[in-house]
């Protein structure tokens, strides 16, 4: 359904949703936006883009799988294992950019299939995403139009808000979304025809403002990449890479993880099994326990990042594992530009 919400009523809407934990973009003493639990004082969705994508809320950086405790009594060993599945904690995330929501729908694919990830889904099923269409690209490196997305994409969202100046054009996209709106029925008005027209105009205008494009389209690019596995291109392009984890940790769709046992005490043996984000740019990501590392240098790691996103993922899911948010470009400390690298791939040998 489609509705209109006055901007000044946004706060009242959030208040009605008292059985949910509400996250919204906030500035925490620095110049950057990040999601935080919405307080009464935070009003409005006048943010640009959050540094950490919505991914961090549905797929947290650290997640406890189980706790273990081994006790010995009269030479009898007992091992207690307590599985920790996220409990009931319904969450609404306000202010999700369409690119970040599309990325969550990519994570949904990754964490289902043959192995349905119970930890991920316990959280995901309780999470409602309220998106905000971009009326102007949050930064100069947005390229969602090249990744089958758009500044007003609905994929992965439950509700899409479009900023019409003093009000939001509200479009519910799922049952969960409708539920949120129905809880505060009185706040929403029926849209007039001109509101609908205006929303469309905002969407069209936003598309025009996105200047950056990747030359080749999905399938074409994937095919081209495949032939360049051993190309010296990767050496050249990775020269300035410093091997930090910014491009992957802050990527809305990167989802590699590591599982570790964190031992708090050896006697009695007590600890937790923990999943944490991991990162193909770190040297220990592919390190074998023999000491051999099949991806020994940064060239092979940059290649892996691009291949995973634009080749392997396309082969498996017929989707690009990139939604064009531009974080890895704008936040790279040394200005490695994924669009440029992809275009060099496209032009290679031609």
């Amino acid at each position: 359904m489609e509705k209109i919400l006055e901007k000044r009523s946004l706060q009242s809407w959030m208040k009605k949703l008292d059985s949910w934990t509400i996250y919204a973009p906030r500035k925490d003493g620095s110049e950057r936006w990040n999601y935080g639990i919405a307080q009464n004082d935070s009003v409005g969705l006048n943010f640009t883009v959050t540094t950490l994508p919505a991914k961090a809320l549905v797929f947290p950086q650290r997640e406890v799988f189980l706790e273990f405790l081994k006790t010995v009594e009269e030479s009898q060993e007992t091992l207690k294992v307590n599985e920790v599945i996220p409990g009931k904690n319904p969450v609404v995330i306000f202010g999700v950019r369409p690119c970040d929501a599309r990325a969550v729908s990519l994570l949904d694919r990754v964490f289902s299939g043959d192995f349905v990830d119970p930890y991920y889904w316990a959280r995901r099923k309780q999470t409602v995403l309220v998106g905000l269409a971009c009326d102007t690209p949050p930064w100069e490196n947005c390229f969602c139009l090249s990744t089958e997305g758009s500044p007003h994409s609905e994929e992965g969202l439950d509700v899409l808000l479009t900023d019409l100046g003093d009000k939001y054009f509200v479009k519910t996209l799922t049952e969960n979304g409708e539920k949120l709106v129905n809880l505060a029925k009185g706040l929403f008005k029926e849209p007039r025809l001109e509101d609908k027209k205006k929303a469309k105009a905002v969407h069209a205008e936003a598309e025009k403002k996105i200047v950056r494009r990747v030359k080749r389209a999905k399938k074409d690019l994937a095919a081209k990449l495949k032939g360049l596995f051993d190309s010296p291109l990767w050496d050249d392009e990775s020269m300035s890479c410093i091997r930090c984890g910014i491009c992957t940790y802050l990527c809305p769709s990167c989802h590699c993880f590591d599982i570790n046992d964190e031992v708090d005490s050896v006697s009695p043996l007590r600890g937790k099994r923990v999943r944490t984000w991991d990162n193909c740019q770190f040297p220990d990501f592919t390190m074998h326990s023999s000491g051999h590392n099949p991806r020994p240098d940064k060239a092979s790691r940059l290649r892996q990042r691009l291949f995973h996103k634009f080749q392997y993922f396309v082969e498996i899911y017929d989707k690009t594992m990139c939604t064009g948010c531009g974080r890895c470009i704008s936040l790279c400390p040394v200005g490695i530009d994924i669009i440029n690298v992809l275009d060099k791939v496209s032009d290679h040998g031609s």
């Binding site: 110049e31 020269m239 300035s240 410093i242 930090c244 390190m287 326990s289």
Partner: protein, 343 residues
């Protein structure tokens, strides 16, 4: 502002004559408005080099990569690499020489003096321009910064836009170079440790709350470590590759390996990581501020280094990065080092 035409000419000549392997410099970036590092192998590409107040990077970081590359290659090309350095960056090279990590013959140093300028702080600029994107930033004749955006040209005093570290800089021109551009103007800095002193004046508990809030944000992307020219250890304590293994190493031995810092980006672990980073850079950090600039969450990690830089100076009279023959801070001592804190 220093011009780099003569440096470019020199670079072109050296490349043409095959005297250097490549040149590390700055080029116009695609990432918005900032310059980005570039590696130039052909003389005709020297044209791409730029110099402006967005050349923030400390390129000496890439000398570490070059050394590793040489170690990996069977028949390494041992010619020196050309490198553009600012004052701060040149001090990083001094430390690398002091620690005998590189040899003086490994580098051909093309120095640029920042004169009365320095590099801009991205956030300060963003605040000034209120969301507008700069197209060009230059240092004007009167020592002001001239910022050109799509529809206007604005001028700002340097103090309003320069990075904090530039405002506290005590070496605004290279202390070591093979060729240098610009004047060696000594800038007077009233309070080289002003920002740290401000923080020291905070009550203890307030300071604790500050650091807890800041370090809780850390996602351990290790950009602060990766961008640092001094963080060149083969094995870092936070990586799990530092496990010496042989064919005889048993699974138990591997499992029992001490794990100093857990991978979880939790408060307690983040503190250990940042403590280790800070203490490991004591007497080595030359305050290029790259760690803080690279941090995607704006954690002011530079303060930790700055604090120890100040203590090294006050307690031990130690200054970093001016003399390659100086023994390092923690591998030397004076008989009268203060010990009033010892029981």
């Amino acid at each position: 502002m220093a011009k780099i035409e003569d440096l470019k000419e020199e670079a072109r000549k050296l490349l043409r004559e095959g005297k250097i392997k490549y040149v590390i410099g700055y080029a116009a970036g695609t990432n918005g408005w900032m310059a980005s590092p570039i590696f130039i192998k052909k003389p005709e590409d020297v044209e791409k080099l730029v110099w402006d107040p967005t050349c923030v990077h400390n390129l000496s970081r890439f000398l570490v990569d070059e050394k590793r590359r040489k170690e990996r290659e069977k028949q390494p090309d041992k010619r020196p690499v050309g490198i553009f350095v600012k004052g701060c960056d040149s001090r990083a090279i001094v430390v690398l020489l002091q620690e005998k990590f590189i040899d003086r013959n490994d580098v051909y140093i093309l120095g640029i003096s920042c004169e009365k300028g320095g590099v801009v702080d991205e956030h300060k600029l963003a605040r000034k321009l209120e969301g507008k994107k700069p197209k060009k930033i230059e240092l004007g004749d009167k020592g002001q910064l001239v910022v050109t955006t799509a529809n206007r040209k604005a001028e700002f005093p340097v103090e309003e836009l320069l990075a904090e570290r530039c405002l506290e800089c005590r070496a605004n021109f290279p202390v070591i170079s093979d060729i240098m551009s610009g004047e060696k103007i000594k800038r007077t800095v009233e309070k080289p440790f002003g920002s740290v002193e401000k923080m020291e004046r905070m009550p203890k508990e307030e300071r604790w709350r500050f650091w807890k809030e800041q370090l809780d944000k850390c996602i351990r992307c290790y950009a602060c470590r990766s961008v640092c020219p001094m963080c060149y250890c083969d094995e870092c304590v936070v990586d799990s590759i530092n496990l010496a293994v042989s064919a005889d190493t048993t699974a138990e031995e591997k499992a029992d390996k001490v794990k100093w810092i857990q991978r979880s980006a939790e408060s307690s672990e983040n503190f250990v990581y940042h403590f280790v980073r800070a203490i490991h850079l004591a007497g080595r950090c030359i305050d290029c501020g790259e760690c803080e600039r690279a941090c995607p969450l704006d954690i002011p990690v530079r303060f930790l280094n700055k604090k120890l830089e100040r203590e090294a100076k006050e307690l031990f009279g130690y200054e970093v990065g001016f003399d390659p023959a100086q023994p390092s801070l923690v591998s030397s001592f004076r008989d009268d080092d203060p010990e009033d804190f010892i029981r």
